[in-house]
């Protein structure tokens, strides 16, 4: 059977854009990225689409499919209603470059601002460390992140309020959580979380968690524990009083 894909096309010189419909055959097991490739090969070779591994591991092909932020390579046509046109749009939180490709470069400027991994001295004379598996399970969950930026895309602080100067976004809160909870790390990012990374802007609507293709529990396992650390240090009245009298 055929399916209709309603794809956002833009003119990179003027920035103007509109949806355009493409009809293409849908076969068993196809994903949205297959359809986009087919359309490129058959009728629109200049259709811009960022992709790489086509296996859900590189996080390049993020888009909004029927309004839902998803990886195109992991969205099967069988999950969609093909009786209606399938809309495919670029991520809305980032500036458009062309068609389905957005300028995500802001994300790459955030990470260097976060205090880097700072390990304790090695445990053994041979320069190695000892860590128990149970102590790294949580960090390994966060390190599954493929940097698709879908969480950044749906975060209302970024998407609706454009607070990219004051807030690092869920991706980099998870990055910070992976460092803070790393058994070997000795750096302290708690004050920076409050003052520089803007963790207070997050009001735990969990939109980020709901779109994560790696199913990382971004809010419950990452952001909330970080918020607790910030609260313990900066908002605990007893501690605050003690700090005042002890300097």
């Amino acid at each position: 059977m055929d399916a209709v894909f309603r794809i956002w096309r833009s003119d990179p010189t003027t920035g103007a854009g509109a949806f355009k419909d493409y009809r293409t055959p849908a076969s068993e097991g196809m994903v949205v990225l297959d359809a986009v490739h087919r359309i490129q090969a058959d009728e629109a070779p200049d259709l811009a689409c960022r992709w790489n591994c086509k296996a859900g591991k590189c996080g390049s092909c993020s888009a909004e499919i029927n309004g839902h932020p998803r990886l195109m390579c992991m969205t099967r046509l069988s999950q969609l209603n093909l009786a209606e046109p399938v809309t495919v749009e670029p991520m809305r939180a980032f500036p458009l470059i062309k068609d389905l490709v957005t300028d995500v470069s802001w994300n790459f400027t955030v990470k260097p601002r976060i205090t880097r991994f700072t390990p304790r001295p090695p445990d053994g004379a041979d320069g190695t460390w000892r860590m128990a598996q149970r102590d790294i399970d949580r960090v390994q969950e966060f390190r599954k992140c493929i940097e698709c930026f879908l969480c950044q895309n749906v975060c209302h602080v970024i998407r609706d309020h454009g607070k990219t100067d004051a807030f690092v976004g869920p991706r980099y809160l998870i990055y910070t959580a992976a460092l803070e909870m790393h058994p070997l790390d000795t750096a302290d990012r708690v004050t920076a979380l409050k003052k520089e990374y803007g963790i207070g802007y997050c009001n735990i609507t969990k939109c980020c968690t709901s779109v994560c293709p790696e199913h990382i529990h971004i809010t419950d396992n990452g952001i909330i524990p970080l918020k607790e650390r910030v609260v313990d240090r900066h908002y605990d009245p007893v501690m605050r009083f003690l700090r005042v009298i002890t300097g």
């Binding site: 990179p12 070779p45 000892r130």
Partner: protein, 605 residues
């Protein structure tokens, strides 16, 4: 006239996968200025797809392991046509490269006493692969990426190199375009390190991402470097085969390392039917011994599913051809059977192979904890590449280095699983170190304006021809079909001679491809520019495979099924000669030093 460079660096690294990032780190730490070009966004390179692990003789799980065993395993797996110096360096230095990743923040799975856990893999005598579940490549690339961003390396994302600039035989820089705007940029550099990965996109069924178009191979070749071992292509035995749209996506060897078995439609474990003589002493005699091996019983020998990839791939092809294949034309790979051995098998599989579970569940509606997967061979890796000095990674073009998959030597005729990630680290580090040393003695070189404008003009030619000309996608598809069918797993003189003719015809068509639209992020234009590189590597593979009239490792000739001593003593080399044509020659392999010869002898049996 001299061209004006947009950017100038001491060392320019082309490619930002594992090898490129590791090279950039080393050069930056040595204090020279470093530029890094990525074809994609930073951190998206094909290295993220590596699943199983990094091979390094840490001896954390089995203290009998050492660099000598790893060296002997690598040479045996490569059928002894490896660059033995590279195999030696690799085995010696891999443990230090893995430990340093931990110091940079990598979080490997742990042993009970808290050290880096290692798993079994094909062709490795002892559990040797440091890993993170089945997403080791992501961990490696993210660790290197997060470390690199604090070193002052300038990263240029979504840039593709169209030509290397050479001055008096020395590397002088590159011309590249950026995808976002379609503008050309000239980079001056005293040294260029190619780390561009593989050539899988020359084939129809491949585990490689779109980037694997042989860019580094072709750039080096056109600049006067030599390519060796191009006939040796690794067809990974287990790629997904169903549904059609996912055909080729990798199914990690880790599935077999954790106890997964291969069966045909009759339910027979066919791998027990064909065990090569030189592996027989190390191979389990029955299924029970094989299972005990995967569970860490040190007295047991490995199951035949963990024989080398070339052999397993051929056995699978044989089953399919004999009509004993699975419904969609593959064989069965079953990990769910271990529930008869382990009480918590389902949770165990999900913990050990999370992305495989996820991949099959999401893309094929298959729950691998409950039912077998269908798998078949997929083009995975090229052992061949730029011929480099084993110690420094410099090619015969002064100032041009290569590391990782686009370089050649360490793997010989067949790569062992896990040796790729360690190769990236060991030789990426060396390339970075020696390139930094090199540039200290080199002057900045002039860039030839005529060459720069010629390269730009040629790159823009598809726009002049317009979309009524040849469609670049169709030319690429026809090339992939040709290489898959005629220069694939089973090869013959007749088919490959035809293929060579056909490649010539495709080159004609490629010279006529055209596109419409703007230069900004124009996928059809990018596909047009990739074609030339794909054609160079396809011709190199075909000519080299015609020349090697024997079967060895990843190269199987049905008209010459046996191995010969004559070809065991040479590497096949191609280079471009003055009239622009490709010359094929045989290069004798230098004799093994006695000490290494002794290591190999000791490890036999």
């Amino acid at each position: 006239m001299a061209a004006h460079a947009t950017y100038a660096y001491d060392v320019l690294v082309v490619g930002a996968g594992g090898a490129g990032l590791r090279a950039a780190i080393e050069a930056a730490k040595a204090g020279v200025s470093v530029g890094l070009l990525c074809k994609s966004l930073l951190g998206k390179a094909h290295t993220v797809m590596a699943e199983g692990g990094i091979a390094a003789a840490l001896a954390n799980v089995d203290e009998r392991d050492s660099w000598t065993v790893h060296f002997a395993d690598t040479m045996r797996g490569g059928q002894y046509v490896n660059n033995w110096r590279m195999a030696e360096i690799h085995a010696r230095e891999a443990p230090a490269r893995v430990r340093e990743l931990e110091a940079w923040g990598a979080v490997f799975d742990r042993t009970a006493d808290g050290r880096i856990l290692q798993r079994n893999f094909g062709g490795h005598r002892y559990p040797r692969l440091a890993h993170v579940g089945d997403r080791t490549g992501l961990e490696l690339i993210r660790t290197l990426q997060d470390y690199t961003i604090h070193l002052g390396v300038t990263v240029h994302m979504e840039h593709t190199v169209v030509t290397l600039l050479v001055d008096e035989g020395h590397v002088a820089g590159v011309v590249a375009y950026d995808r976002e705007r379609g503008r050309f940029h000239v980079f001056a550099a005293k040294a260029v390190i190619l780390a561009t990965g593989g050539v899988g996109r020359a084939y129809k069924i491949t585990s490689n991402s779109w980037e694997g178009t042989g860019d580094g191979h072709a750039l080096a070749y056109r600049a006067g470097a030599e390519l060796i071992d191009m006939e040796f292509i690794q067809f990974h035995p287990t790629g997904m085969i169903w549904p059609p749209s996912v055909k080729g996506i990798l199914v990690t060897e880790g599935v077999r390392g954790e106890g997964g078995i291969l069966t045909n439609t009759e339910g027979r474990r066919f791998m027990f039917d064909d065990i090569p003589e030189n592996y027989r002493p190390q191979t389990a005699s029955d299924p029970d011994e094989g299972w005990r091996y995967t569970q860490g019983d040190r007295s047991a020998r490995r199951p035949p599913e963990l024989l080398t990839r070339d052999h397993v791939a051929r056995c699978i092809v044989r089953e399919i051809k004999a009509g004993r294949g699975s419904p969609h034309g593959g064989v069965f790979l079953d990990i769910s059977w271990i529930k008869s051995k382990l009480p918590d098998a389902e949770a165990h599989i999900k913990r050990k192979l999370p992305s495989m579970y996820h991949q099959f569940k999401e893309l094929a509606d298959i729950d691998i904890t409950k039912e077998p997967m269908e798998v078949g061979p997929t083009t995975h890796y090229v052992m061949g590449g730029v011929r480099v000095d084993g110690d420094t990674q410099m090619s015969r073009v002064p100032g041009l280095f290569a590391a990782g998959e686009c370089a050649s030597g360490i793997n010989g005729a067949n790569r062992l699983g896990g040796n790729s990630l360690s190769d990236l680290l060991v030789f990426g580090q060396r390339a970075g170190q020696y390139a930094a040393d090199w540039v200290r003695t080199q002057p900045a070189r002039p860039l030839d304006d005529g060459v720069v404008s010629g390269a730009i003009q040629q790159s823009l030619a598809p726009f002049e021809r317009g979309s009524t000309a040849e469609n670049p996608y169709l030319v690429q598809q026809d090339l992939q079909e040709l290489m898959q069918n005629q220069v694939g797993i089973v090869r013959s003189h007749a088919e490959m001679s035809e293929a060579l003719q056909a490649i010539g015809a495709l080159r004609e068509r490629a010279s006529r491809v055209g596109v419409d639209g703007h230069r900004e992020y124009n996928a059809g234009w990018h596909a047009s520019l990739d074609l030339d590189n794909l054609l160079v590597v396809s011709e190199a593979i075909t000519r080299s495979a015609l020349e090697r009239r024997e079967s060895r490792g990843g190269h199987f000739r049905e008209d010459h099924p046996g191995q010969t001593a004559e070809f065991g003593a040479v590497n096949i080399m191609v280079r471009q000669v003055a009239d622009g044509s490709m010359e094929v020659s045989r290069v004798p392999i230098p004799p093994l030093p006695d000490a290494l010869k002794q290591v190999i002898e000791e490890q036999k049996g």
